[in-house]
Symmetry: C3
Subunit: 269 residues, 3 copies
């Protein structure tokens, strides 16, 4: 690939430092399950969460925010209107935004919404393999849905989706796959406890938005976000007795992970 | 009773093992307070939560889910429509479903809804004594509402409610009472910290739905769920410094409690 | 000031004991981010939370509750209707209620709502400096919005707001400022971790409502609430490894803080 792991790691360290020094304001329109964990993850990281999710307020706020997360986990009617307003506001103002197409595929409301939103120019799409395959299938030329937890199996489709939408696509799994359609990066960090903490994937979407606020290099900032997040999970797992105690330990770890820890832990390819 | 504690404990061990091996998909339409704890409890147990709570999506999903929880804690208009759709979908497909009539009694919207839903054939009704008495009073032949925390005081009404609705009725309290109208079982396990962790009762409803997915014996599966849950609370209390540290310890305990622990700890009568 | 720190501390000890012995029932109409933390804080303190937030139920419940919190964090349409109903019910019945004007200022829906609600006679208004300045500016004779984290800078405006609305105004910050327009009290307790636990400020609003239920002296009960809350934060910080482990430790501390701890720790002026 044209981007080397060494250069991405260096960019990742810089992006993490930039998040810490700039406290990006991340607007989140997200689901009821993950909203608390998402806000706490942003705070622990050093960013500032703002759950501005009213249709009448979301667009104006998105224009002023540093980044925006649109997560389709529990997209009630009012949230759907807020998402459309926020995406319009973010687009007009150049605010980077992340689409997390939770459970898209067979569920009709969110699948239709994901098709509209993925065509609206997200900066990053983050999901598991099934969700990324479903989003790709919901648009023109997609391959349809295929339930799988293996991010690698979705790598080619993710790259095509990146080319079609202009978004960086991040596929979460035991190995995370991140692609802009030209370069595809794999992050081998993480821990299984992250999958047993509800909102673990959803909060990553918000962290990706925080990192996207640090500069225009979307591939590098997304790799940096995934790396920071999954390395923090490794640190937390060393202190956790199970999936319950993992959650507070993970927030503790997010608040202290730094460039030196990334250097020591990163497994990029 | 015709079901002995020994036979119920044996069935409970088998049900817990079945939950772990089958990863039941439990749809939850639940309140905003407990939704995060509920998802985490299911994940810790080894089940898979899915908070599919849109009116347009809930019915179809319920038909495919392993189990369904309908919890009336904060039943906004959109949630109420989703609950009705989900119950219809579950009923048509034979998906077992649990009704948790939170705060039913004097509050009009949820009391009317509980009356409709309890007549719609839930597999299990779970509540505290006041709620079970209120649900019984809301239907034909009930005794009206009587605020009390003593599950035993509601045992007879619970048995009548079970006969009338065909549901197993689980009354939570310092001693849990579980009845199908013929046999009534008491579970003496648990810890007071469970009452100081918000969502502690609500998440149990979801766990009951996960166990209901393991087979048609609703009394045994509900006893198994309550037993697993309350024994995990005992394990957690041994590690907790208070109600705050109890919560992560409880999730840790839910993830490791097994048949041997149930054998050693169960207090059934 | 006419109220001395010594007399306020004595009143605070009594109010804390009264919360513990009376288990006030606190209705909360609050945002999706903080709702779980808020319920847990009330439970840990020894109060009883009730998130009754339907327009059809909120007014009647407020008339019977011990206290009410109206928090504008994520005020969807249904919540806004419930807030108006609850305030009407509380006002008619004399139930003390707390207004938390989250993010009021530039966001139009909540700013308009805060103007209406602050004119409806809240017993306490709690916010950070920017929010208090915004609420003051939204009414007659206000000074407009000025973003700042320094509660002291808002002290004069807070006192004016207290005089105009009849509410005690509590401004959260590194030093908390609490005023009834005649006396202004400063609480120097607390810990920075409280600002990195999402819902940390929102849950304080509910705790203030619980203390308001203990008697008619709103200045003393609000000082007592802030003191109890911020002293618990100090206890928790001593046990926490970071912002994640702070959260459960804070609930543990809230459950044990008592008059003797307040005496030893209070920094009032």
């Amino acid at each position: 690939m044209s981007r080397t792991p060494v250069s991405l790691l260096a960019a990742g360290r810089a992006a993490l430092a930039a998040v810490r020094s700039s406290t990006p304001l991340v607007q989140c329109i997200t689901n009821s399950v993950a909203v608390n964990t998402t806000a706490n993850a942003l705070l622990a990281l050093g960013a500032a969460p703002a759950m501005v999710d009213l249709p009448e307020e979301a667009g104006g706020f998105a224009a002023a925010a540093s980044g925006l997360l649109v997560n389709l986990g529990t997209p009630g009617a009012e949230h759907r209107a807020a998402m459309r307003a926020a995406v319009a506001g973010a687009t007009a103002a150049g605010t980077p935004w992340v689409l997390d197409p939770v459970a898209v595929g067979s569920l009709p409301v969110r699948t239709e919404l994901a098709a509209v939103l993925s065509d609206a120019g997200p900066d990053v799409v983050r999901g598991n393999a099934s969700e990324v395959l479903a989003v790709a299938g919901a648009g023109a030329g997609g391959r349809g849905v295929d339930a799988t937890d293996d991010a690698e199996a979705a790598a080619d489709v993710a790259a095509e989706l990146a080319v079609r939408t202009g978004a960086v696509v991040a596929v979460s799994g035991p190995v995370d796959v991140i692609t802009d359609g030209r370069d595809t990066v794999r992050v081998r960090n993480g821990h299984v406890h992250l999958t047993r903490m509800t909102g673990g994937g959803c909060a990553l979407g918000a962290v990706i938005a925080a990192f996207a606020a640090t500069g225009p290099d979307r591939l590098a900032s997304t790799v940096a976000a995934v790396l920071t997040y999954t390395v923090a999970a490794e640190l937390a797992a060393e202190r956790a007795a199970g999936p319950g105690s993992f959650a507070p330990a993970f927030l503790d770890a997010l608040s202290v992970v730094d460039g030196a820890v990334l250097d020591a832990r990163a497994s990029l390819a």
